[in-house]
């Protein structure tokens, strides 16, 4: 267990190093001058020099990367004229667009993205696993065909299309739900949920389709396994066979896939946030990409990478908890 955590930690650090190096590399492979981007539209030659120096862009590439890493680990200082701006520990630099510390930008938006993603994930798991089990256990019935069709549909539809349809129906026609606008959970839990229902559904329907497939496949595979036959041969009622012996086997892959899917969910959340105008990290990323706000892009990328790597570690823990054969090592 300890070894597992240590190894995972090391792997996480390695992955993040690689990711940051890749993203940082993009800074320099790109045709433009980062200082010009940072300085903005109205930027005279004087200011350009100041900006370049302030951001350390006049240094060698490897030094800049080193300072960047330093900033992430222990923080760094940006000197500008009379003042020294200290950017505290996980320092990801300053946004070119808003001159805000990227760390703050991310933290500000984290609650929105977390609310959206986690809520949708729970909903997707409930819907998906339910549908998957149902269609596996009702094989050959109308229910199965219906669920298969719905799953395929959910599978083929981009999240923005689903979101659009949901808006049209629930917001424009039925007028039962508001156009989403983020209300912090701490401020008003009821409004928080009411406003997030549509984004949750849009995001969850897509993921649910995947979970349904995996849960269905897992159930069918488990039901075909020999040990199921053993319990049938010993007179255990079918209901109990499914509940006690098939369910775990069916759900183990769902746990794995959830972690593996996180990268996809993050991507879908980006689209969902853009679609509904929710001020989350995904929207930040889209805006940063449009305006080539490199520090923000780097920050979002690293955050997403961390989330994915951590999710995979959690999935491994979960997998080990479900399946006694798996040893954490």
């Amino acid at each position: 267990m300890i070894w597992f955590l240590v190894r995972r930690l090391l792997a996480t650090v390695a992955v993040l190093l690689v990711m940051s190096a890749i993203v940082y590399g993009l800074f320099y492979l790109m045709p433009g001058d980062p200082a010009v981007l940072a300085c903005g539209k109205r930027c005279g030659p004087d200011q350009l020099v100041v900006t370049r120096h302030k951001l350390g862009l006049d240094q060698a590439v490897y030094l800049q990367y080193w300072h960047f890493l330093q900033g992430v680990v222990v923080g760094r200082d940006y000197s500008s004229g009379p003042d020294v701006n200290h950017c505290a520990a996980p320092c990801l630099g300053y946004s070119f667009q808003s001159d805000q510390p990227v760390t703050n930008l991310l933290l500000d938006r984290l609650p929105v993205s977390a609310s959206l993603t986690l809520g949708a994930l729970v909903l997707a798991l409930v819907l998906g696993v339910g549908a998957g089990l149902l269609s596996a256990l009702r094989r050959g019935t109308f229910v199965e065909r219906l669920l298969t069709g719905v799953t395929l549909l959910g599978f083929s539809t981009p999240v923005f299309l689903i979101g659009l349809i949901l808006l049209l129906v629930f917001c424009a026609w039925l007028k039962v739900l508001p156009f989403p606008s983020y209300v912090p959970l701490t401020e008003n839990p009821a409004e928080w949920a009411r406003n997030l229902v549509l984004p949750w559904c849009a995001l969850a329907l897509i993921e649910a389709a995947l979970f349904a497939r995996v849960a269905r496949a897992g159930t069918l595979e488990t039901l075909a396994e020999d040990h199921i036959r053993t319990f049938r041969a010993y007179g255990v009622p079918e209901r109990q066979v499914v509940r006690r012996h098939a369910l775990r086997g069916a759900l183990a892959p769902v746990a794995t896939i959830t972690a593996v899917e996180l990268a996809t969910i993050i991507v879908s959340a980006m689209l969902t946030e853009s679609m509904f105008g929710l001020p989350g990290i995904g929207k930040l990323a889209v805006e940063a990409s449009t305006s080539v706000d490199l520090p923000v892009i780097t920050g979002v990328t690293l955050l997403a990478g961390t989330a994915v790597v951590l999710a995979n570690a959690v999935a491994d823990l979960l997998h080990a908890a479900i399946d006694p054969r798996v040893k954490l090592a």
């Binding site: 923005f160 993921e207 995947l210 593996v260 996809t264 990409s289």
Partner: protein, 329 residues
Amino acid sequence: MTLFDSELAAGADPVLAPGEEPVPAAGTDPVPSRRGGAWRRLRADRSALAALVLVGLLVLVALAAPLLTALEGQDATTFHSQLLDSARGGVPHGAFGGIGADHWLGVEPGTGRDVFARIVYGARVSLGVALAATALELVVGIAIGLAAGLGGPRVDAVAGRVIEIAIAFPSLLLALALLAIVPQSVPRPVLVALAITAVNWGNVARVTRAQAMSLRTRDYVDAARLAGVGPVRIALREILPGLTTPLMVLAALKVPSNIVSEAGLSFLGAGVRPPTPSWGQMLSTSTTWFQTDPAYVIVPGGLLLVTLLAFSLFADGVRRALDPRSTRV
């Protein structure tokens, strides 16, 4: 794949999904008769056949775009300002987005360009980008996957890690960043296809690697080694043929997923640029107009949905045909 490429990102191709086995049931080599059998099965699969017909039709439409627009007597770029109600924000005059004898599917709000012409030309971009990206992903993915799978532990330690990271990365994010910093002068569809490839090859590489590793340990490969066959010949004659089945399935799944990727990028404004029509970009514009000009939402949205369904159904049929024992939906 509803998501921006769930399969891609997650490594989890929804269909190949659960767990680590990316290839149709490991250890079972589809035997050659299956290939012939696969055709037979595919022909017998009504939904796959219907999907194939639809896919063919769509490809035909894309190819025949100039012919079809000539038939209609319109083109994709001419503005028709007189057909728009300027005082109401530029929505088309008349019901259903200005659908009529002159403009079969109406005109675009804001510009008055012919929707039918833009749809058929947009099909070229959407399908072209998706197919090109799929082909490129296969080339890149197979090369890296084979290197990792056959190149020995050192190569695999590096290549395998790179593949993992590539899969764990939220692809859309990277694609957005890439598209933001690439030179604006290169033709956009080419860039989009390259960007999609750059972020989505991981899946192909992973499947190739896993399959190559599994095939590498087969007795018949050992037998070939004992017969004195050289490594290159072994890779080409003994291993590559064994990759075709899983890769064919994956390629079939990649196409719809790449269509979604293209649409997603265009939706976020990073895809092909307005003078060039593409479905995702039309959908992006249409979300603005969904209340005042619903026809403009329904046409490209519905078409995208049908296209994705057709490709997904077809891919599913291919998978069923090539791997008939699969229990997955």
